[in-house]
């Protein structure tokens, strides 16, 4: 309950902050539409030369684009702004005040900045997913849609956990302010089904920086390609990684000694 109250307070604060830059918001939304246009055009170019990409049709790739945009929104609306603030607070020691608050510090650090206007991107992503599913010729059953949603959430949790680990490393290595660039770098790999990549790249985007787990895997569930044990594995992995991440976060906090001392 308290968490919800805090979240809504953060949200209000961030709305006010972005209202100060209204013209920028409009320009950013226009640019976002431009990139959507480019993404659809690039899919059109691909599918004017082939009928399937790694066995997937146009509809499935549009749905994948929607899922990719969900992850991308997580990255731009939450991960980037909070990481910047966090790196700054480690360098100048303002992290002190965060730790003093009577709230979970991990929650505070990861949710206090939200790029609010990006929320419209979520709506767009959902539209892409729905349109994509409808365009794909195969019949999708309700359980498939449910596992799709479930695995999209577990994928997000895994990426969130990896993010926590990456920024927690800053407690040990103060100069490590490139902490999320590696995440951003491989993000683009989420635009296409990981099954078309060469094996080494597939291993990287599945096990090391698991972008594909949040993009390709939910789509595979939607296509009914995943068996129950696999689905359970992904759920288990997300729970384990979240617990590991919060452990590493706590260990990192113990390392923190302020900036001046």
């Amino acid at each position: 309950m308290q968490t919800l109250k805090l979240l809504s307070a953060f949200f209000k604060m961030n709305v006010q902050m972005s209202l100060a830059y209204r013209a920028d918001t409009v320009v950013n939304i226009l640019l976002n539409i431009m990139w959507l246009g480019w993404e659809l055009l690039s899919l059109n170019i691909i599918f004017s030369n082939t009928e399937t990409l790694g066995g997937w049709g146009l509809g499935e790739l549009i749905a994948l684009l929607g899922v990719f945009r969900l992850v991308n929104t997580l990255m731009i609306a939450l991960i980037w702004p909070n990481t910047e603030k966090f790196n700054q607070s480690i360098r100048d020691g303002s992290m002190d005040y965060t730790i003093l608050q009577p709230v979970n510090s991990m929650f505070l650090v990861t949710f206090s900045r939200i790029t609010v206007w990006r929320f419209w991107d979520l709506i767009l992503a959902v539209i892409l997913i729905v349109v994509g599913i409808n365009m794909a010729d195969q019949v999708t059953s309700a359980p498939q849609v449910l596992t799709f949603i479930l695995l999209a959430i577990t994928g997000m949790i895994i990426i969130y956990s990896l993010w926590i680990v990456l920024i927690a490393l800053t407690f040990w290595f103060v100069k490590f302010d490139n902490n999320v660039t590696i995440l951003q770098a491989l993000l683009d790999a989420g635009r296409y089904p990981a099954t078309v990549y060469p094996v080494w790249l597939r291993i990287i985007v599945t096990f090391i920086i698991p972008i594909a787990v949040a993009t390709t895997v939910p789509l595979q569930a939607l296509r009914g390609e995943l068996e129950a044990p696999q689905i359970l594995t992904f759920i288990l992995v997300s729970i384990v990684s979240f617990f590991l991440a919060s452990r590493i976060w706590k260990a990192g906090l113990k390392q923190y000694s302020g900036a001046s001392s």
Partner: protein, 265 residues
Amino acid sequence: MFLIFKRLWQVNWAEQWQYRANLLMYLLYWLVSPIIYLAVWTSIANVKGSVNGFTANDFVTYYMVLLICDQITSNIVIHTFAYKIQDGSLSGELIKPIHPLLTNGLVNNIAFKMLTIIGLIPIWIILFFLFKPDFSGVSLSGVLLSIPAMILGFFIGYLLSAAITSLAFWTTRVYSIHEFYFAIILLFSGQFVPLPLMPKVIQDIAQFLPFQLFMYYPIQLILGKLSAEQIIQGYIMAGVWLVVSILFFNWVWRNGVKRYSAVGA
């Protein structure tokens, strides 16, 4: 003049060397898209035998060469210069008797590129063994012909980016304008896919724009895929666009500096 450039080189090289870890990250970041496009198109070509005449090996060689050409012809002037106009630190450079963008800015970019190219070499060799491209179509004359083309491409790209960066004299939203410009390059340069696979309209427009000089044209030169007529046509376009971009940059810069009021002064 030579001495000035030598000194500028020493300063900028030392400055860029300081950020070598960041540079490596930038390199990784920039590498991912071409490799993904490579993977996507080779997988299609492998299924279908060839796409519009392009075989899997054609795609592999295309993107492998693109990695080099893009690194040579691209620039980062927007990131190293726009903020100087916005926060007023340009003042210090304006009182020097040399052009800030055509001397210091230029040398800074070249130092940055030298370092990233050095970083790219080992990565490129690894990728070579991973993708095993067949470069038998490459001839020495093609490579030699591509070098002036890439240098021309770099200068045209640099002047156009510098002109766009100079729009910061008028607006604070120069980064948004640059993002739009970046999308235009993506569309017309052959970065996403070799131009013959683009829709007909885009191909027709791309012929008259300078952006294919950044990637598609030098790549095809190296791979030996252009006829004598196409080579000459490309060089003529490069010459014309060099003149246009010089004039355009000078015009924007001259009017921009007049508006400059040094924020914070």
